[in-house]
């Protein structure tokens, strides 16, 4: 369907798109010249450091900053009093950036200093005296829902009366829940999705499998810690250089927290050393601005790795129950799930999206999902790649694996039998347009990896996954330079090669060479508002806006050609990088190339530019199927991933290398989630593994090559058929690896991570039950 009158139908033939040129920002990044968050420096800048709560939950009785302030070299000390609450600001974000009366988690910011250098700033932190009264804490999601759990926000959330809820038994697994009516509650929200009648559906089932599952919180683990440099002048004008996924979000949120007009704050995004969702909110930025405002000098704040772990958002930990019923032939007749996600000390866990994604891969007539958003004494969760989806997929795909085993069906066949396709009413509401799940399943089945014979203690797992993909507010401008080259200004930061993709699309649309387009990431004063680089929206939304901005420019260039030739504007068309007369009766003129038009721009009416602004819709969902082979050592419980295959629908791969890169990176993050990664809390509620040594992300020697197949089922919502690809890749791995382990050694892991001791304990359990 055309997007508007001047949009041709979906393009299927490409010259630039689909090729693999070097990225335009590449040389700077391989030579160390690219400037990331911590690489900025301003003359006269101070070093800012933050004092953090050592307690999981504590009343802050008093803060005495006088000794710190008296230390030579200290230029500002701030507490929440220096950031008074502004009308209309987001209170949770305000409380999260600096505790106001109560420290809600280990690592919660309590005060901050700016000093001439790091060594003075460190001394000053030690001189701040905070008088805490330690409160009872809770970090586990199931514990937090109990009637006697410590309450984080007394009086804020209505108590939930489980006795009236249809699925109460599964919410608590305990009888007492049915009668207890807690005075307060840590349940911040309840979400219900589904259709049909699961209770009736289960009556038609030949086989029913239900289980409880738990996953621990994992961190996005970007290698670049949060960093920013703030400079507030005495006239209230401010600048901020920062590594973020959303410079416009940072500007608007900081302005509202600090009571500034948006126009007074200019945010320049640095290169960003990974985000994966973790850099979609503010932590240190408002603090740096407040310090700079008080000190009257620029202030640079860079988080340490342990601060990143303790005080920025990991994703939720989850406790889940899933039940699926199937006929003998593998047809699913009903599905039911309860998901409980804790999102740290504030509402907003991704349970709603987890619930929407849980059964999205399947065509189900009877389905119900209930999700609970729960608060605990942990850092406020932040988005992490397909937020909420990997956990629910872990539970659902695990149950499906078990049903397939029970029925003696092939793991891909059972999914093919139930796969969502065009016209399927999804479990979360909308009816799917053209989607590629079936294609990914078929490609996975045909792949050589699926045919490799397995040895002793080896097993194969399969899992599928879904992510919606976001679109949203986007704004792009493209300027024609005097020599016919182009400057493309984007408002979405480039986290993984998106400049290359945008240049490819612009070159394709203009019919010129990729090298003639140069993309820059604009600051917030140079371009209209752009939503955050999140939700796999960049290649879709900024791509769409780039194509439309180029079309706008083409119309203007055709106008200039018309002027030069003295013919009507609609008698000119654009082809292969040049303006041509539209037909023989338009006149017989030799084509005017983009270079010739650029050279005459001044004489024909002035500079030439194109732009486009949109609140985009139509981001097509992306489905994936993963296949993984593992080998488990039955003596140690250690496991090795032998082979890993990602098959995913990209709609249209603009730069296939970076599409593959997204597939591979997401898969390996998922492998880390299932094998090693976890937030480990002590009895006192403090984080025990706030460093890369103890929070172990996969290293090079942990993984094999990650094989990829790009499936292309075009998305009708984008002129070139693009779907976002960044997130779906982390959805299947948890279940995929778990299913492989089960096929290797007959142990079903329902608690993540499947660390060697856990695998070993499960193996011993199996042996004991056989004995």
């Amino acid at each position: 369907m055309p997007l508007d009158a001047n949009t041709p139908d979906l393009r299927t033939e490409f010259k630039s798109v689909g090729t693999r040129p070097n990225r335009p920002d590449g040389v700077d990044k391989v030579t160390g010249r690219a400037r990331f968050g911590a690489d900025f420096a301003l003359p006269g800048q101070l070093t800012g450091l933050i004092l953090r709560s050592p307690h999981a939950h504590a009343k802050i009785k008093s803060i005495d900053t006088s000794a710190a302030e008296a230390l030579p070299g200290v230029k500002a000390v701030i507490t929440y009093k220096d950031i008074p609450e502004q009308e209309g600001c987001d209170k949770d974000v305000l409380v999260n950036i600096m505790a106001r009366g109560t420290a809600l988690y280990d690592g919660h910011a309590v005060a901050a200093v700016a000093a001439v250098d790091a060594s003075v700033a460190r001394k000053a932190l030690k001189l701040i005296k905070v008088d805490y009264k330690v409160l009872k804490h809770v970090t586990d999601v199931d514990e937090a829902m109990k009637p006697d759990a410590p309450v984080l926000h007394p009086g804020r959330f209505d108590p939930v009366d489980f006795s009236t809820l249809e699925n109460a038994a599964h919410v608590s697994g305990k009888e007492e829940r049915k009668t207890a009516t807690p005075a307060h509650s840590n349940i911040a929200g309840r979400y219900v999705f589904g259709h049909g009648d699961p209770d009736k559906g289960f009556k038609q089932a030949d086989v029913i499998v239900e289980h409880e599952f738990k996953t621990e919180a994992t961190h996005q683990g970007y290698i670049e810690p949060h960093a920013c440099t703030a400079s507030v002048s005495s006239d209230g004008m401010a600048e901020l250089w920062v590594c973020t996924q959303g410079p416009f979000m940072v500007r608007d949120v900081c302005a509202s927290l600090l009571g500034m007009d948006v126009s007074r704050l200019r945010v320049t995004p640095s290169e960003i050393g990974g985000g994966f969702g973790g850099k979609t909110t503010v932590f240190i930025e408002p603090v740096a601005l407040a310090l700079s405002r008080k000190a009257g000098k620029p202030v640079k704040v860079v988080m340490s790795r342990s601060e990143v772990f303790r005080a920025t958002g990991p994703t939720s930990s989850a406790s889940m129950w899933v039940k699926i019923g199937a006929k003998k032939d593998g047809t699913f007749v009903a599905a039911d799930a309860v998901l409980k996600y804790q999102g740290g000390a504030f509402p907003g866990s991704p349970v709603e999206m987890g619930a929407m994604c849980a059964f999205a891969c399947y065509d189900l007539k009877n389905v119900r999902i209930v999700g609970y958003d729960v608060v605990t004494n942990r850092p406020k969760q932040a988005a992490y790649r397909a937020p909420g989806a990997p956990m629910s997929a872990f539970a659902v795909e695990g149950v499906i694996g078990e049903i397939a085993d029970k029925l003696g069906m092939d793991a891909i066949d059972i999914r093919l039998k139930n796969a969502a396709k065009e016209g399927t009413v999804s479990s979360y509401g909308p009816t799917f347009g053209p989607v590629g799940l079936v294609e990914t399943l078929e490609a996975a089945k045909a792949h050589k990896n699926y045919k490799v014979k397995l040895g002793k203690n080896q097993g194969r797992g399969v899992a599928s996954g879904f992510w919606f993909n976001f679109a949203g507010n986007t704004c792009v401008s493209i300027n024609l330079n005097v020599d016919g080259t182009l400057a493309l200004a984007l408002g979405t930061v480039d986290i993984g090669g998106s400049r290359a993709s945008m240049c490819l699309m612009a070159a394709e649309e203009l019919g010129i060479s990729y090298e003639d387009v140069r993309a820059v990431i604009a600051d917030t004063s140079s371009l209209g508002y752009n939503d955050i680089s999140e939700g796999s929206r960049v290649t879709f939304s900024s791509g769409l806006a780039t194509i439309k901005a180029v079309r706008d420019l083409k119309v203007r260039m055709c106008g200039r050609a018309a002027k030069i030739w003295g013919i009507p504007e609609d008698a000119v068309k654009w082809e292969n990088g040049a303006a041509h007369p539209a037909g023989s009766n338009a006149g017989n003129f030799p084509p005017l190339s983009i270079k010739e038009i650029a050279a005459q721009a001044s004489a024909t009416g002035g500079p030439l530019a194109g732009h486009y602004e949109i609140n985009a819709e139509g981001a097509g969902p992306s489905f994936a199927t993963h296949v993984c082979d593992v080998e488990v050592d039955p003596d140690t419980g250690a496991m090795k991933v032998l082979r890993y295959l990602v098959v995913q629908d990209a709609g249209k791969a603009i730069h296939p290398s970076y599409v593959e890169g997204q597939f591979q990176g997401g898969a390996v993050q998922g492998i880390g989630w299932v094998l090693n990664e976890e937030y480990f809390y002590g009895k006192d509620g403090t984080l025990q593994n706030a460093g890369f040594l103890d929070y172990r992300v996969p290293v090079c020697s942990d993984v094999p090559m990650i094989d990829t197949v790009i499936v292309e089922v075009p998305n009708p919502g984008h002129p070139y058929g693009v779907r976002g690809v960044g997130e779906t890749s982390i959805v299947p791995p948890l279940a995929c690896v778990a299913n492989a382990v089960s096929s290797a050694i007959g142990v079903r892991a329902r608690t993540l991570p499947m660390s060697p001791p856990r695998v070993l304990a499960a193996l011993e359990g199996v042996a004991a039950s056989k004995a």
């Binding site: 160390g32 690489d39 670049e224 290169e271 790795r305 890169g661 898969a667």
Partner: protein, 187 residues
């Protein structure tokens, strides 16, 4: 704490600097000398983003004190390209799309060069273990490993070509690599 005056050599240039005794080599490079190509991902020797060579040994510059590098030779990412000519590894990283965000890239390049100088015919497993001290959260390592293997292949080809031209030159055996962990933490 009084400052220390240090004379050293970085990327072939004699350099003098003054630092406090508690500053790491990484702090000195980044904050005193403006060489921000080496990155700090952890400051505790766990991520490899700060990798440099110290007298030819691969080390985490966050674990080396600035005050102790006097009289030594340091090689950083800034010295890898010769003028506008990229090192073959840099070129291959670009061609293989072996970087996404790019924050880990300087560390990987320095570590990979150190490997190839010791062993120009590493197996995939050798590459993976050698680079196990460098974290990359974006790529899943696939394209990084391919880029390194491909560079090694090209380097062997050009080495074979030049030794064919000079038949007298004896083939030098690739030196055995030393245990990487030890090399890193010895500093």
């Amino acid at each position: 704490m009084s400052a220390v005056h240090v004379s050293t050599n970085i990327n072939g240039d004699d350099v003098e600097f003054v630092c406090r005794p508690d500053e790491s080599l990484l702090d000195v490079l980044r904050d005193r000398l403006g060489m921000t190509g080496s990155k700090e991902g952890c400051g505790t020797g766990d991520c490899g983003a700060c990798s440099v060579e110290l007298d030819g040994r691969l080390v985490c510059s966050c674990l080396v004190m600035g005050a102790e590098v006097g009289g030594h030779k340091i090689e950083t990412i800034e010295g890898m390209a010769q003028g506008d000519k990229l090192h073959p590894l840099q070129q291959k990283f670009l061609e293989h799309a072996a970087l996404q965000c790019g924050i880990c890239t300087p560390g990987f390049l320095v570590a990979a060069r150190n490997l190839l100088e010791r062993n120009n015919d590493p197996t995939e497993t050798e590459v993976r273990y050698w680079l196990a001290g460098n974290l990359c959260r974006c790529t899943g390592y696939d394209k990084i490993v391919r880029a390194v293997l491909d560079t090694a292949k090209d380097m062997r080809k050009s080495a074979a070509k030049s030794s064919a031209k000079k038949p007298a030159a004896k083939k030098k055996a690739a030196p055995k690599k030393t245990a990487k962990k030890g090399a890193r933490h010895a500093a």
